[in-house]
């Protein structure tokens, strides 16, 4: 078999660390939000692992872990244990990391994605386990790496932040699928409220296990690529690794089982120069077995919102939205909730969806705010949409009213301020405007009456003048009726 006939199938599994959303750290009461604070300003004897200190498990972490697990279709496991995972590193204060390891709180979940051919594909999730984060090293070397650094500083603010590690089965076959998987996972976890999953704040990090299966029956060894903290890095790292491994195998070489680090700047993976520590586990004797009662699981389940993909399907099926529109509206939970609140107030779903997709999302993007912070409340937007639907407000007038509402005015006041009048014009007022317009356009009327306006263009012109004069408050059908009536008289 010649080289050219060989085909390679990537086999990819992904480990994701997400920071769970809690006020305090996993084993102490230090604040979990240290953004922009001084290094080592959120530490105590417990998260520093000082001699004699003991961990006390934060219930909120367990709750958020369950929530994330349930959002990923996992079953909740109880009782479970914590273990000590031993290795040495300066950012690891106790010389071990307290983690759930192979007895995780949530297991056997799955997510649906679409494969490269566009067909639905299930990616199985092996487990979700809870653990503590470690500290952070800052090196004086120019590239920020440990090698060659003269001085290193340790910041323990991160030490003890609650993490969930989510491990997939090796069901992923391309970098694109990998990105789709992590995107779907991120959206669900954020929907559930288990994590803010802010990539820029390091709340989500990826490791990928990549190996290759060759059509000639050869299997490459598993390579763990670490250190990706963005979707793009994940995609590029997997692409790079797939190419690298194919090249090795095509040349008849053997892919070594190793850990490689993704260098974001150079866009290459490099074999890790720091030899992996030999990791060992014993039961964490300072924490009793963690028991989650069925009642607690039920309570958490009850707080789980409808997931984005379910919402999307429902919007398409029940509300008549296009898939694209539904996908935009369900991308984040607050927008979906805004939309649903809006239609609950009687707004037409398609029209409300359009308003939100264009105006509300634009505002949110410009101001960098969530849907909850948009000054136009869903009830108010519903009122606006209804008025347009009822013909009480023209689309043009509605835009002006909306702008006024964005400044914080309630619907009625916004209408007043923008000078629009709802409910159309009454017949007398309309007749007055029509007669004024007709009086000023005798030549046009002449042309219509003489039968020259075969295409109705002149008629439309008159209507337009009326509409402009009434600032769009008149109903188009009433305007044309009024003009026709005047012409006949």
């Amino acid at each position: 078999m010649s080289d050219k006939e060989l085909t390679f199938t990537p086999v990819i599994g992904i480990e994701i660390h997400i920071q769970l959303k809690t006020k305090s750290k996993i084993f102490c009461t230090c604040s979990a939000d240290y953004t922009n604070d001084e290094p080592n300003s959120h530490i105590c004897p417990v998260c520093m692992g000082l001699p004699g200190s003991l961990p006390v498990l934060n219930r909120a972490v367990v709750q958020q872990g369950m929530l994330a697990g349930l959002a990923l279709n996992c079953s909740i496991v109880s009782p479970t244990l914590f273990f000590r995972k031993s290795y040495y590193y300066p950012d690891l204060p106790k010389g071990f990391q307290t983690t759930q390891s192979d007895l995780p709180i949530a297991a056997s979940g799955w997510l649906m994605i679409s494969d490269d051919a566009g067909s639905p594909k299930k990616v199985r999730i092996n487990r979700l386990h809870l653990e503590e984060d470690v500290g952070k090293l800052h090196h004086s070397a120019s590239d920020g790496r440990l090698e060659g650094a003269e001085t290193s500083w340790v910041d323990y603010n991160r030490s003890g932040l609650p993490l969930a590690e989510i491990v997939s089965e090796p069901d992923i076959s391309s970098a694109r699928e990998a990105v789709e998987y992590v995107t779907a996972l991120r959206r669900r976890v954020r929907y559930a409220g288990a994590s803010d999953v802010d990539l820029e704040k390091g709340m989500m990090r990826f490791d990928a296990n990549v190996s290759m299966k060759c059509s000639d029956g050869r299997w490459g060894r598993k390579v763990e690529v670490k250190n990706m903290n963005s979707f793009r890095a994940l995609e590029r790292a997997i692409e790079f690794e797939i190419k690298r491994q194919i090249k090795v195998m095509r040349e008849g070489g053997e892919v070594l089982q190793e850990t490689r680090h993704w260098n974001d700047a150079k866009e290459v993976t490099r074999a890790s120069r720091v030899k992996e520590f030999y990791r060992k586990f014993i039961v964490e004797p300072d924490l009793p077995p963690m028991v989650v009662t069925p009642e607690w699981i039920e309570r958490v389940k009850a707080t789980l919102p409808e997931m984005p993909d379910q919402k999307m399907a429902r919007y398409v099926k029940e509300l008549g939205l296009t898939e694209v529109d539904a996908s935009v509206l369900t991308d984040s939970r607050d927008v979906a909730e805004y939309f649903e609140a809006c239609i609950a107030c009687g707004a037409n779903p398609v029209r409300a969806g359009n308003w939100i997709r264009t105006e509300i999302l634009r505002f949110m993007g410009e101001r960098q705010v969530g849907a909850g912070d948009v000054p136009v409340k869903p009830e108010a937007l519903a009122e606006l949409v209804r008025s347009v639907d009822d013909g009480n407000l023209s689309t043009t007038a509605a835009k002006t009213v909306f702008e006024a509402m964005l400044e914080g005015l309630p619907f009625a006041e916004a209408v007043k301020k923008s000078g629009a009048v709802t409910g159309g014009l009454d017949a007398d007022a309309l007749a007055k405007v029509v007669s004024e317009i007709l009086a000023g356009n005798a030549d046009v009327i002449e042309e219509i009456k003489s039968g020259k306006d075969t295409k109705g263009k002149k008629m439309k012109f008159l209507q337009g003048l009326v509409m402009r004069e009434t600032k769009g408050q008149a109903r188009p059908d009433e305007v044309s009726a009024a003009i026709e009536a005047s012409l006949k008289s």
Partner: protein, 490 residues
Amino acid sequence: MRLHELNVREIAAGVRARKFSAVEVFDDCLDRSVACEGKVAALITTTVDVGRSQARRIDERLSKGEDPGPLAGVPVVLKDNMCTRGVRTTAGSRILGDWAPPYDATVWRLLQEAGAVLLGKANMDEFAMGNTTSTSAFGPTANPWDLTRVPGGSSGGSAAVVSAGYVPFSLGSDTGGSIRQPASYCGICGLKPTYGMVSRYGLIAYGSSLDQIGPFTRNVEDMALVMGILARQDPRDSTSTCGTRGECFSKLSDGMKGKRVALVRDFKEFTLDQGIAEAMKKTIAALESAGAEMVEVSLPTVGRYAVACYYAIAASEAHTNLARFDGVRYGYTVDSSTGLKDMFQEVRSFGFGGEVKSRIIAGTCLTEPVRSEQYYVAATRVRTLIAREFSEAFQNADCILQPVTPSLAPKIGEADEDAMKGYESDLYTLPVNMAGLPGYSFFTGHYDAGLGLPVGLQLVGPRWSDGELLNMGFALEKALGAPVIAKAGL
């Protein structure tokens, strides 16, 4: 009678009644400690300034009519593995030679709230690993009854200071007998409470699932008084499950009638020194005449496997507990220019003593992925069997009477020669920690009529029977006599 000779109850009562001041008590105890230290060497740190200012504050509060608590002005010594804010806490190791913790252990907080006053931090085997208090980086402590002998370990310093009359009570920690054995060697009372009875927060860990803090006193009433203060649930320690069980210490009674006291059938094959064997006979007679019934129970797994499994578990936990001592954040460190790994190596090579290193290495080996199942995991399974065996035994008995050690205190240096003998001598103490049970070590008298070494025995009961054990100890103390202060070579 000098003030340092009074017991806990007498000092607290005298100070509160203002018969004498807390400062007077402290100074008298301090004098006694200064006089003895040259011979006994029981303290790593003497807290003269801290203690005297605490004593002064107690006196001030009393003069204002406030009640400083049930331990008003009572001097105490803490084993040096309990964190004391601002006072150096070494765990007997060079690696923590000058470390002053930024926080107090829960037990020390509770004692301060009760009015106790710190006299010093007691010498101990490094990181509580040892039987003799000779693995301390600060040198060995002597037995106040015979300065050529060991006081026991690892809480040897805490036992010696109570025995020699520095203080009426002290705290030790017991991972595998480290309170009961030195109490027995030094002729005082020592209680290893039920696991979870006393908070471990602030105790520098050796084997976390085995460690338990407990007091040394010179009589059983003081023991109950101190335990009544220490026994409470601590939200900072997830394994502290005391709840309201500490109330069992509020009142002692000596009703021995109808109590079934068991001897362990499987221990009969092991030899005991004559002094211990005689003490057993004497104690059995005392129990019977107080109305107790002697029965037998069987602990076959304990007899055969407990010691080996204990060391597997203790070492496995210890090597993880001691991994934090790496020179990065506190304690002994080096300015290493050779790199991270060298720094870790240098700090740990110099910082730790031989006994600690050997147990770290043992723990590292026993938990290696390929061996873990065979050793560490297997040991934890045997541990479950041991706990079950004990609870079955307690279906037929209220408590077990057994030796603490098979022999009396050995000469300094002698015990270290035969490591295997040391391990064998742990048979009576280790299983109690593995099952999380309470063990009370009590004084039965002196071998060889008054001049010889003191002889101790222990009562072991089911979980949370601590109060019951002290009740029995109360009856025994009436029959056998209370401990007395040792001459300490003076």
